[in-house]
């Protein structure tokens, strides 16, 4: 089993949920998070004049962190490609800040209600 951790734009949430519903993976955990990427926040786009004495106090322009939504989806090994492909298709705007997807291995899944393990718990 694999865990797909996707960091996406918050306004793409409902489109992503619909698309995943359609291909049969409705279960997920979503967490609102803050983050930044290679571009160090959106400092460039939100530039404005700032007084030198404030700059000396390490005030800076722009946003240091950008609000994102973190999705955690656990799927069987053979479904990873389909889910990542859908996530990329739906969330791609070809601009910076679309997010990242990470795939990690999960050793065991247990459904708490019944105690079922592995593939049974994911069904």
């Amino acid at each position: 089993m694999k865990e797909i951790t996707a960091i996406i734009r918050p306004n793409k949430m409902s489109a992503t949920k619909d698309a995943l519903d359609k291909i049969g993976y409705p279960s997920m955990t979503a967490i609102p998070v803050l983050g930044k990427g290679k571009q160090r926040g959106i400092s460039g786009e939100l530039n404005f004049y700032i007084q030198p004495r404030l700059l000396a106090k390490r005030y800076s322009t722009g946003m240091k962190y950008i609000p994102k939504r973190l999705l955690s989806i656990v799927v069987n090994d053979e479904d990873v490609d389909e889910v990542t492909k859908t996530l990329i298709e739906i969330n791609q705007t070809a601009q910076i800040g679309d997010g990242k997807i990470f795939v990690e291995s999960i050793d065991e899944v247990i459904r708490i209600r019944t105690g079922e393990k592995g593939k049974l718990a994911l069904k």
Partner: protein, 105 residues
């Protein structure tokens, strides 16, 4: 590729992220979390706090950068007291950039 999850004191988060940025590791995600450790929370006078506020810093880095990142985080978040937090490292098999659809960081 490795995923580094560090649970640090919320008031030291900026210190840690600034230190990481200085060394060239800008990309990260931070999450406000609650948790407790071996000490089962904290007791102040008669009040017992079961879960304490922490910040989780999550970042994916290349294998060879893991040691340096861990060194920076543990150096910057260190106060020497209980509750400084923990760092977990796990393996990331694949990473995709959504805007280009490319593999890798």
């Amino acid at each position: 590729m490795k995923m580094v999850r560090a649970i640090v004191r919320p008031e030291w988060t900026e210190e840690v992220t600034d230190g990481l940025a200085e060394a060239g590791y800008y990309s990260l995600t931070k999450i406000n979390v609650f948790g407790r450790g071996k000490q089962k929370g904290i007791t102040v006078g008669d009040m017992h706090y079961d879960e304490l506020a922490k910040t989780m810093i999550m970042m994916a880095v290349e294998d060879e950068a893991v040691d340096e990142v861990i060194k920076i985080i543990s150096g910057k978040a260190y106060t020497g007291n209980m509750g400084d937090g923990k760092i977990f490292v796990s393996t990331v098999e694949d990473a995709y950039t959504i805007s280009s659809g490319e593999k890798g960081l």
